[in-house]
Amino acid sequence: MDLVAVARIAVRALARNKMRSALTMLGIIIGVGAVIAMVGVGQGAQQQVQQQIAAMGSNILFVGSGTVTRGGTHMGSGATKTLVYADMLAILRECPAVKDAAPGGNTSTQVVFGNDNWATRINGTEPQYFEIRNWPFQEGTAFTPEDVEMAANVAVIGETVRKNLFGATDPLGQTIRIKSLPFRVVGVLAPKGTSAAMGDDQDDVVLVPITTLQKKITGQDWLRWIMVSATSREASYAAQEQITSLLRDRHRIRPEQDDDFMVRNLADMADLADRAGSIMTMLLASIASVSLIVGGIGIMNIMLVSVTERTREIGIRMAIGATEGNVQSQFLTEAVVLSLIGGSIGIICGMGASYFITQTLGWVVLISPLAIVTAVVFSMAVGIFFGFYPARKAARMDPIEALRYE
């Protein structure tokens, strides 16, 4: 018997009990639909995180001043004063994996424009910072190296600050006050959104020349951080090692002592986020698979009932020449057809559910062809697995007993 004939017989047998077949399929429909939707949610989230990290620049390293413990008291991050401008110059000079670097210091304070004020983060840095972070301007430009040299009172503002201070007013050329000093706004950064890695609003920031910050606002001459770009994403690991050994050397840290700085690698964080995303996807998929297994048990249950009901039919088929293999493949095909049809409907339902999630919750749901292929293969496997025992039971019947069955 060819496969088409077997499949046709199976479909007709299932069509004889439409309601029962539909209910049995429902288990598989829900199972496959749940797997498709959940994997879609997981992969969508993963993709979003990856995009955000990529937008941040995956070849970026963040060198921060470290934590120290003095007399048993933990001083917190940024408490050391050992990270200095000369360190940055040394990094640029001596680490071959490093492409560029920008120094940074920061403080938090009130920014005033007219009658409005806004508490925000003031970062001091140099113009290359915007290139390293791959951060475009929606208006104006960065301050210049000359501004840095002269410790000029110029500022670049983020989108959140612009919205809260200026509203509809064009901020370019306007004067804002930081600690009662006037600053001219020269640029407005394009919105970058919430940082995926740290969860803070990256647009809530004012950037001024590092010299201006150090001399006129904080009065500190050490750096809080250095933003470094490696020559490539792969090189960022080498850069991390080079910077670490260079700074340990420069800061005269003995081998048994801890670093007085920290180097964070965004490629590392991207990998971490990726792993976390995969785990979440797996978790969601495995929870959804439970319902697929329950659906499979439903198939097995109905197939067992069906085999018992059709004992006499099995006897007739055997008497007129069906082999055990014929009978087994007949019932197995029915189970597989049930699960495949259920799986196909389940895919459609899963896609519908994903669309619904996207529309109502605004989550990104990503349905990959791989997920669909996997769902089809998986539902077929469920059919074979849970159809095997009932089919075998049918095939093992004694034709004489089966013919006598009432």
């Binding site: 018997m1 004939a5 017989i9 004889r16 006499r312 039919e313 006897g315 007739i316 088929r317 055997m318 008497a319 007129i320 020449g321 069906a322 082999t323 055990e324 293999g325 014929n326 034709p399 004489i400 013919l403």
Partner: protein
């Protein structure tokens, strides 16, 4: 009656279809052992019309199951068209049932919710026959039993006699060498019974070997040879004398308004 007489009973026809040599069959029923067949030996040659008779428990059903390759003897040998059936595997037995044997049962055993034509086609699905050829053969077989016009009817839309004729057509579709009929008239009224016997008679006249199990004496008299079973043994094996033909009896029966 001696053994030589048994073997020589049908003499006018040629090749041996069924040769059974000293068959025994035991069943284990819990602790007790049932000895259902106690040394059966029969030859049936092609073109014979044999009626197997006997009370229930005489072993005739067990014997039919063995003849039909649904069951295997505990000892002894069974040759069907010179093939030693007792040594075949399950799949080979299924193939024999498909190609060489046609079954007709007391309870018709048609698949419900399946048309007459599809019921008749069923054995061709398990033979190496194309779909078109199978359908052609099924239509021919239905014509042969006079139901060509009812091919799309479901069993529930057919009378008992018609259902049994569909079953006969199904038994014929793979052109078997032997037709085995187990109480084919057991569920039918007397006129319909004769009609069914008339079909079997017609098939036999065309050269088909027919083996029939019945407990009705009237029915057995349409056969050419009767074999009586009792307690797992053959008690009597004789040719039917003054054989009536079913077609003649049918003519003499008053016509009933049943269709």
């Amino acid at each position: 009656m001696s053994q030589s007489e048994i073997n020589s009973a049908p003499s006018q026809l040629g090749e041996v279809r069924i040769r059974v040599l000293d068959i025994h069959k035991y069943y284990e029923l819990g602790e007790t052992r049932v000895h259902a067949l106690r040394g059966i030996a029969i030859d049936i040659v092609s073109g014979e019309f044999v009626a197997i008779m006997g009370a229930s428990g005489s072993g005739k059903s067990t014997f039919m199951n063995i003849l039909g390759c649904l069951d295997k003897p505990s000892s002894g040998r069974y040759f069907l068209d010179d093939i030693d059936v007792s040594s075949l595997s399950k799949d080979e037995l299924a193939a024999i049932r498909n190609h060489k044997l046609g079954f007709v049962f007391q309870g018709f055993n048609l698949l419900s919710r399946t048309t007459a034509l599809e019921n008749v086609e069923l054995p061709t699905l398990y033979a190496q026959v194309s779909k078109a050829e199978g359908e052609k053969r099924a239509r021919e077989a239905l014509d042969l039993v006079g139901l060509g016009g009812r091919s799309t009817h479901f069993p529930s839309q057919l009378s008992g006699g018609q259902q049994q004729r569909v079953a006969i057509a199904r038994a014929l579709v793979n052109k078997p060498s032997i037709l085995l009929a187990d109480e084919p008239t057991g569920n039918l009224d007397s006129r319909t019974s004769v009609e069914i016997m008339e079909i079997l008679e017609r098939l036999n006249d065309r050269g088909l070997t027919v083996v029939l199990v019945t407990h009705e004496h009237d029915i057995s008299q349409f056969a050419r040879r009767t074999i009586q079973f009792r307690d797992g043994k053959i008690r009597r094996d004789e040719l039917v004398v003054n054989r009536q033909t079913a077609s003649q009896v049918l003519k003499d029966l008053p016509v009933e308004e049943d269709q």
